[in-house]
Amino acid sequence: MSRLRAFLIWAGLATIVVVPILAAAASPLLQWRQPVYIAAGFAGIAAMVLLLLQPLLAGGYLPGVSGLRGRRLHLWTGILLVSAIILHVGGLWITSPPDVIDALLFRSPTPFSAWGVIAMWAVFAAAFLAAFRWSLALSPRLWRRLHTLLAMVIVAGSVVHALLIEGTMETYSKAALCALAVAATVKVIVDLRIWARRSRGES
């Protein structure tokens, strides 16, 4: 891969990551929110960005971080994702406890809450699978399929969650980020042949 091509890929990715964050930072809603609420919102936006990075790293699509390096970074990005979600939910809890309790108990009046909570538990489950990969002693194929299944729930749930919210994210950059996260997830599932009888990498 040429250096120019690598540069363009990274520059494109940086743009896709930075634009939604800058657009949210320009939201008029911020002036009427307390710092904790603002931080909670941006933790959610960061989590959406990480959802785009995760499949790109798992598939080794990014120049310089393919193969094992990509997977190792996928692990660290996963840890960041879990942290971002904890900050997101924790910050919202501090801002308005009853709204978060309603969401966690699936009795919220806002439909996007349930999608977010489902995605959150799927993230925790996927992280649990990764953390206890060796002690769980699942076959590599089963482990991969379970982890992928959870990833699909995470991406689908988070995208619906984000799109239904009227918040600080700007509409078009939010939709673009969501579309790219879905596209990257579908691509890596197809490329790695997760549901083929023999996935790539197995002999």
Binding site: L29, Q34, S96, D102, S108, G167
Partner: protein, 162 residues
């Protein structure tokens, strides 16, 4: 001479009488000709602060919360009913004391309270209203604005005697 045994006739009579009263007894007395009470909405009581003071206006105003209060059944307008209102606005969070206020309905059961502009919070631009004075059953409402650019919001109460 009577025996303790049931004849076939009495069995049929008592049996059919039981069926008639039993079946009709299950049906709820007709309320359909009256106005049904408004149920509380999900999340309506979130960040409620009991005893919000009656005010002319919450904060600087610019946004109108309006609605009606009527009695369940006959739909008669209820005057002098205290409605409490709070929301996330340009001047404060739902939890802030200054975001809460109350008003009374007029002779036509209509209430109108000016308050700061409601802004989207927790994903939707919405307001909260409460009736909890005790004479009628408590109701919490959580109406959502069609657009966050709206400068008014309506909510209607049909109350059932407590």
């Amino acid at each position: 001479m009577t025996t303790g045994l049931m004849t076939r006739r009495t069995l049929l009579l008592t049996g059919s009488a039981f069926l008639v009263t039993g079946v009709s007894g299950w049906s709820v007395p007709a309320r359909s000709n009256g106005l049904a009470p408004t149920p509380s909405m999900r999340g309506g009581s979130n960040n409620y602060r009991p005893g919000a003071p009656i005010v002319d206006r919450i904060g600087g105003g610019g946004f109108w919360m309006t609605g009606t209060v009527r009695r369940a059944g006959d739909g008669a307008p209820l005057a002098g009913q205290r409605i409490q209102i709070w929301a996330h606005t340009t001047e404060g969070h739902e939890r802030d004391q200054r975001s809460h206020g109350a008003t009374l309905t007029d002779a036509n059961g209509v209430f109108r309270l000016e308050m700061p502009q409601i802004v989207p919070a927790f994903g939707q631009p919405h307001g909260h209203l409460a009736y909890d004075s005790g004479e009628f059953e408590t109701v919490f409402l959580r109406p959502v604005m069609k657009s966050s650019a709206d400068t008014s919001l309506e909510a209607h109460f049909v109350l059932q005697p407590a």
